[in-house]
């Protein structure tokens, strides 16, 4: 049976036979770069379509159904439209920062792609501090938003950016704490090792109620971190028209838009890796027969299945809940999520020390 790891090994061995080791590395890097960019574009298209479908079905509508079979090419058409639109820069804007901001958003999203394990033995960069890397890089996202808001010379944009700054800085805490709880349980910062530690069951099931609480907090916190409704205060359509990207148009806007979806994908991938075992099939303890049956499903399908389930969860939130107010948003973090997750990590540490998990 083919798998991603076999394909990559095949390419690697073929390259090392035909080229010197330096060239092999260079070519492999180029291939990886192209693969990431392709995945990027593909994910953007798929997620936008998925969002529109989910929204439509929840809202008793049909959703996109005109472009292509069943509306499949709708997001491609949208991209085309955005490509040919004029990317305007407002007169009073800080032109350099204004044009830089969308690229920073993209670069951050791309950087986050590196340590994610898409399938067994299929990873761009097996980093031994993967979790730390992800938390560190993901907080850079706010810089692009602040930059965009500040440079636009628009009061709505500025307010959106400031809101987003306050929001991401606060929610980083509880997201970090709930990620820490898994690090405590598995005893490693390496994403691959965390996945391996779930070979006898996912942490969500192994870790009793504290991990479930950590998972819920993680989902809430990453929804806030990616500026998705009900925490989309940085955009807040009905209050700030479009928040930090009010002044953006054309492809510059599309980059922000794409970065948002890629960020959603990445945080969901991280969530799936930490709590749902990444590419690890569904295993129950040491029940070998069952585990073998599960292993027949390729690991990439497990990974993408879990990730898309979490993405659906986040989309489901968006189309159900009203938006919070800025002070309530901070209240929620500082009065509820943070104390709960602090207490929770204490419990989990206790659990890990005493070995109370399965």
């Amino acid at each position: 049976m083919w798998s991603f790891s076999k394909i990559s090994k095949l390419i690697d061995s073929w390259l090392s036979v035909n080229f010197s080791s330096t060239w092999t590395m260079v070519i492999e890097m180029v291939i990886a770069g192209i693969a990431v960019i392709t995945l990027f574009a593909l994910l953007g298209l798929v997620l936008v379509l998925m969002e529109r479908r989910v929204a439509a079905w929840i809202q008793i509508r049909l959703g996109p159904n005109r472009v292509g079979p069943g509306g499949m090419l709708q997001s491609l058409a949208d991209t085309l439209k955005l490509l040919v639109k004029e990317g305007m820069t407002p007169d009073g804007a800080d032109k350099f920062l204004f044009n830089l901001a969308p690229f920073i958003a993209m670069i951050v999203a791309m950087l986050l792609m590196a340590p994610i394990a898409f399938a067994s033995n299929f990873q761009l960069w097996d980093l031994n501090i993967g979790v730390l890397y992800v938390t560190a890089i993901s907080s850079l996202m706010v810089i692009s938003i602040l930059m965009a808001g500040w440079a636009s010379n628009n009061k709505y944009s500025l307010m959106g950016a400031m809101r987003s700054g306050a929001q991401i800085v606060s929610y980083e805490l509880s997201a970090g704490l709930s990620i820490m709880s898994i690090v405590v349980l598995s005893g490693s910062l390496n994403l691959n090792e965390i996945i391996q530690s779930q070979a006898d069951g996912w942490w969500l099931f192994k870790g009793h109620i504290p991990v479930v609480i950590a998972f819920i907090i993680f989902i809430i916190a990453v929804t806030a971190e990616t500026n998705r409704a009900p925490f989309d205060l940085a955009e807040a359509e009905s209050e700030l028209t479009a928040g930090f990207h009010t002044e953006y148009s054309g492809m510059k806007f599309a980059l922000f838009f794409l970065a948002e979806y890629i960020n959603v994908f990445i945080v969901c991938a991280i969530g799936a890796t930490l709590f749902l075992g990444g590419w690890m099939p569904f295993h129950i303890g040491h029940w070998q027969a069952f585990n073998h049956v599960m292993d027949f499903i390729p690991s990439s399908i497990w990974f993408f299945g879990k990730t898309f389930f979490l993405i659906f969860l986040i989309m489901w939130f968006r189309w159900t809940f009203p938006r919070l107010r800025i002070d309530q948003l901070l209240d929620l973090e500082w009065k509820y999520l943070l104390p709960i997750s602090m207490f929770n990590i204490l419990l989990i540490t206790l659990m890990a020390i005493l070995g109370w998990h399965f």
């Binding site: 709505y156 807040a236 700030l240 028209t241 800025i326």
Partner: protein, 371 residues
């Protein structure tokens, strides 16, 4: 912009909300003085779609001027038309047949439900929840279909004429209305699940946009806006017109005076309207749907004022007649105009997000304000 913020000693900036803004539902222009997220002052600038309907009506006859009023508060166009028809009938001193009275009241209440449905969805959208908007439109669509069948149009029907209604009800009318009542009752619990009971929604609405009863009266607030503050102001109860005094319905009052109270008044009013429709739908008396009137209507010299309760509040038509075929002067007292004047008072000191919620609960319809 940076210079502008730096130049103000107290850090206040001026923000233009509108005339093109998703939360203003039209072309309302609010100039907000804001400090961070906190609102210092709200100043409405109106007139972007002022059509001077009052001046326009001065050159239209008493039959013709009614249709224009549909274009004011387009969500309760039936009730506006009703007020005008009643005012002309008051001047002509004609009794209208009981059948047309019942039809008029039925149409009024259907319009009220449709208006509240739209408000409900639009207000949820102001708060960032998009789904309720579509769900509300499903029920509103059913009403619009009924209207289309009987009146021939979905929004600006021009169904009320001096002396009764323009056409008799469609044979399907009673069946369709009953179907709608069943549909509405089966769906009304969803409103609770999706919006009313939601913790985020309640936190956004409770304790926000407080308006005391005394202020509500002083600002001339009417309709659900004032009833949310505990002011009894339902014209249907206080100054009954048509057959409202014979009907058994409740004037919804909430005492909190915040956005949530105003929200609850409207949601509960929908059920009251349903109950009115249920009382009437099987008891439409036989008879004419229109009283005999002269071809050319002439109102005697004098002044005539008619108040009715629209979905937004106390709507008044003030006709000054010189005895001719056209009114000498018409004044429309629109509820939205007075309700809007309380916005500044309510919004001071609250957050920008709350302002949007408050505008949602005031149920502003801009053509109603601008006329």
């Amino acid at each position: 912009m940076v210079e502008e913020i730096a130049s103000t000693a107290d850090g206040n900036i001026i923000l233009n909300l509108g005339p093109q803004h998703p939360a203003t539902h039209g072309v309302l222009h609010l100039v907000i003085t804001i400090n961070g997220e906190t609102i210092q002052k709200v100043e409405p600038h109106l007139g972007y779609i002022h059509r001077s309907i009052e001046k326009m009506c001065e050159s239209l006859t008493y039959r013709q001027f009614i249709y224009v009023t549909s274009r004011m508060d387009y969500l309760s166009s039936h009730i506006n038309n009703h007020a005008c028809a009643l005012c002309v009938e008051k001047g002509l001193q004609i009794e209208i047949p009981s059948r047309s009275q019942v039809i008029r009241v039925l149409m009024d209440e259907l319009t009220r439900i449709a208006s509240h449905e739209l408000w409900w969805g639009a207000m949820a959208m102001d708060l960032g929840a998009f789904t309720p908007f579509f769900h509300a439109f499903r029920e509103r669509e059913a009403i619009n279909d009924i209207m289309e069948e009987t009146c021939g149009a979905r929004l600006t029907m021009n169904y009320m004429v001096p002396g009764g209604v323009m056409q008799d009800i469609h044979p399907n009318f009673q069946r369709r209305v009953k179907e709608f009542i069943t549909l509405f009752k089966s769906k009304v619990s969803e409103y609770n699940e999706l919006v009313t009971g939601n913790i985020i929604f309640q936190n956004r609405m409770k304790g926000v946009g407080n308006l005391s009863a005394a202020d509500a009266i002083s600002f001339g607030c009417t309709g659900p806006t004032a009833r949310g503050s505990g002011v009894s102001c339902d014209i249907r109860k206080l100054y009954p017109y048509e057959i409202y005094e014979k009907l058994d319905f409740e004037e919804i009052l909430e005492s909190d005076g915040d956005s949530f109270a105003r929200y609850m008044v409207r949601v509960r009013e929908m059920s009251q309207s349903i109950s009115i429709i249920e009382q009437l739908i099987d008891n439409i008396p036989e008879g004419d749907f229109q009283a005999k009137t002269k071809a050319v209507l002439k109102l005697p010299k004098g002044e005539f004022y008619q108040r009715v309760e629209t979905a937004r509040g106390d709507f008044g038509v003030y006709i000054v007649s010189e005895g001719g075929t056209t009114p000498y002067r018409i004044k429309y007292r629109s509820p939205g105009f007075s309700n809007l004047s309380a916005l500044d008072h309510m919004a001071r000191g609250s957050k920008l997000g709350d302002l949007v919620a408050m505008m949602g609960t005031l149920d502003l319809v801009i053509p109603d304000i601008d006329r």
